[in-house]
Amino acid sequence: MPIIDAVLDDFFWRALIGGLGVALVAGPLGCFVVWRRMAYFGDTLAHSALMGIALSFLISVPLNVGVIITCVVLAVALVLFSRSRALATDTLLGILAHSALAIGLVTLSFMPDVRVDLTGLLFGDLLAMSRDDLLWIYGGAVVILALLAALWRGLLMSTIHEELARVEGIPVERLRLVLMLMFSLVIAVAMKIVGVLLITALLIIPAATARRLAHSPEHMTFLAMAFGFVSVGGGLTLSWHLDTPAGPSVVVTAFCVFLLIYGGARQTRS
C-alpha cells in the first residue's frame, strides 16, 4: 500500500508510530512499577541496557537481543541477591545501576571501530527508528499485552497481597519472573525512543498521573496508556518542531500532563 509506505518512509511518522507502541505497554507495566514500588528497580534495569548494547557489539547479536538478555540476567541476579539481605535493596540497586552503566560506557570506549551515537542511546533519538524497530516494538507489545491479559488476576493479586496470593495457589514467584521479562522487553524496545536514562520516567509518570483519576486497577491501566500516548505524541512533535532531544521532550510533556492533572483535577481517590 503506497500510503503506508509513504508514512513509514517518513522518519517522524516512524518515530511516532513506534512511540505510541511503546506507550501502549508502558502504561500497564508502569502501573505495576508504581504499585510494586519498583521505580528504582526499573531504573537499574534500564541503566544496564547500555551494558547490553556493548555486549551485543562484542558477540555480534542484534542490539535488542543483547539488551533483553542483559536485563533478564540482571533482573534474576537482583532477585537472588536481595534475598540474601546482605545489603539494603536500594543500596544494591544503586550499585548495580551505575556499575552496569559505567561498564557499558567503558566497554564501548574500547571498541573504536564501533560507531555508536551515545547521546541517542542515553536520551533517545527521533531519527533512529527503523522499520525493523517498529516490528520489534509491535511484536513486543503483542506479546506483553497477551501475557498481561492472560495473567492479570494473578499479577494483580500478588501485587495486592503476596502471601494471600500464595495461599490461594497463585504462582507468585513465576509471575514475578514473567513481569521481569516484560520489563526487559519494554526497556529493549523503548530505548530507541526515550533513551536508557529516561525509560523509567515513561513508565511511572503516566501511571502516577492516572492514579489521580482512576477508580479501579484496570481504569488506571487504560488511563496510563492514554497519558502515555499524549506524552509521546506531544513530545515527539515538540522534538520535531523545536529540534529538541526526543526522550527529554517526551518526559517534559509527560511531566506537564502530570502537573496539569494533579493541579487541576478534583480529588477523586478511590
Binding site: L164, R166, V167, E168, S216, P217, M220, R269, S270
Partner: protein
C-alpha cells in the same frame, strides 16, 4: 475419628541456626478451633506460615488433607495506596461469584461496604473484609493471624463469636493466633502456648493453671483467666516470681521434662 485436616510432626523452622519454631506437633480436625498464644517473638506467625506452606521448614513435616481449601486472614492488609481498589474488586479477585462475595460480606457484617474504596476502611472493617474474603472461598481450613487486631473491645467479642459460628456453618477447622487471652479462653476449644516450642497445650480451663503457662504469661494474667478454676499450688517470692510449692514440684518437672530451656 475423622481424618485430621492438618498434621504437624516435629515441625522446626530455624533462622540462622536459631530455632524460631522448635519441634512442634499438632493435629487439627474438622470443627476444631485451636488458638496459638505466646509472647512476642514466640514464632506464632512463623508456625502459621509453615502450615500455610509459605514458610520453608528446617525439619519435620506438615501434612494437609486433600483436597483442602484454605482461607487465610493475614495479620495486616497493608495496601499500596497507589492501587485503586474497591471492596467489590478485592472480593472478586478471589475468583468467586458476585453473589458468593456479597453473602460472605453480609456474614461478616460489612455487606454495605461493597462499593467502598478499600483505602477508606477502618481497622475493624478491614479485618471483617479479610475474613469475608477467606470465607468466600468456602474453606475447609480457616487460618487467622490476630484477627481482632484494630477491633474495639465489643467488636472483638463479636468477632470471636463470628469465627465460632463460621466454624459451625462451614464445619471447617480453625487455627488462629491471638493476644486477646480473655476472649480466647472463652471462645476456643484448645489452646497452644507457644514459646518456640509448645510450652503447654490443652483446654482453656486446664491450661490457665499450668505452671508453664503461668511462667510465660505471669501470675496476674493466669489468675485473672482462671477465676473459676484457680487453685493455689505455689507461692511467690519477694520479687513476685513463682516459687513452686512441694505439691506442684512434680507437675513442673513433668511438663518441662523435654523442654530443655530455662523459664524465667
Amino acid at each position: 475419628m475423622t481424618e485430621p485436616l492438618v498434621t504437624l510432626e516435629q515441625v522446626t523452622v530455624a533462622f540462622d541456626d536459631r530455632p524460631v519454631v522448635d519441634r512442634v506437633n499438632l493435629r487439627l480436625g474438622r470443627g476444631d478451633i485451636i488458638t496459638v498464644i505466646g509472647p512476642n517473638g514466640a514464632g506464632k506467625t512463623t508456625l502459621i506460615k509453615a502450615i500455610l506452606g509459605i514458610q520453608k521448614l528446617t525439619s519435620g513435616s506438615v501434612t494437609l488433607a486433600e483436597p483442602l481449601t484454605v482461607g487465610y486472614v493475614p495479620q495486616h492488609l497493608s495496601l499500596e495506596t497507589t492501587l485503586p481498589l474497591t471492596v467489590r474488586r478485592f472480593m472478586a479477585l478471589s475468583g468467586r461469584s458476585q453473589d458468593e462475595c456479597q453473602a460472605a460480606l453480609n456474614k461478616t457484617g460489612v455487606g454495605h461496604l461493597m462499593g467502598s474504596s478499600i483505602h477508606h476502611l477502618s481497622g475493624g472493617e478491614r479485618q471483617r473484609l479479610l475474613l469475608a474474603r477467606a470465607l468466600a472461598r468456602k474453606p475447609d481450613l480457616l487460618v487467622l493471624d490476630e484477627p481482632a487486631q484494630g477491633v474495639d473491645i465489643n467488636g472483638q467479642a463479636a468477632l470471636y463469636d463470628l469465627i465460632r459460628q463460621l466454624r459451625d456453618d462451614l464445619h471447617c477447622g480453625v487455627i488462629m493466633i491471638s493476644h486477646d487471652l480473655h476472649l480466647v479462653m472463652a471462645a476456643t476449644d484448645k489452646v497452644i502456648c507457644l514459646n518456640q516450642h509448645v510450652c503447654c497445650s490443652g483446654y482453656p480451663a486446664d491450661i490457665s493453671h499450668d505452671p508453664a503457662f503461668i511462667e510465660t504469661f505471669g501470675q496476674p494474667v493466669a489468675e485473672s483467666l482462671a477465676v473459676y478454676h484457680h487453685h493455689h499450688n505455689h507461692h511467690h517470692d519477694l520479687h513476685g516470681d513463682v516459687v513452686s510449692g512441694q505439691a506442684s514440684a512434680t507437675t513442673v518437672s513433668d511438663s518441662h521434662g523435654e523442654c530443655g530451656h530455662a523459664h524465667h
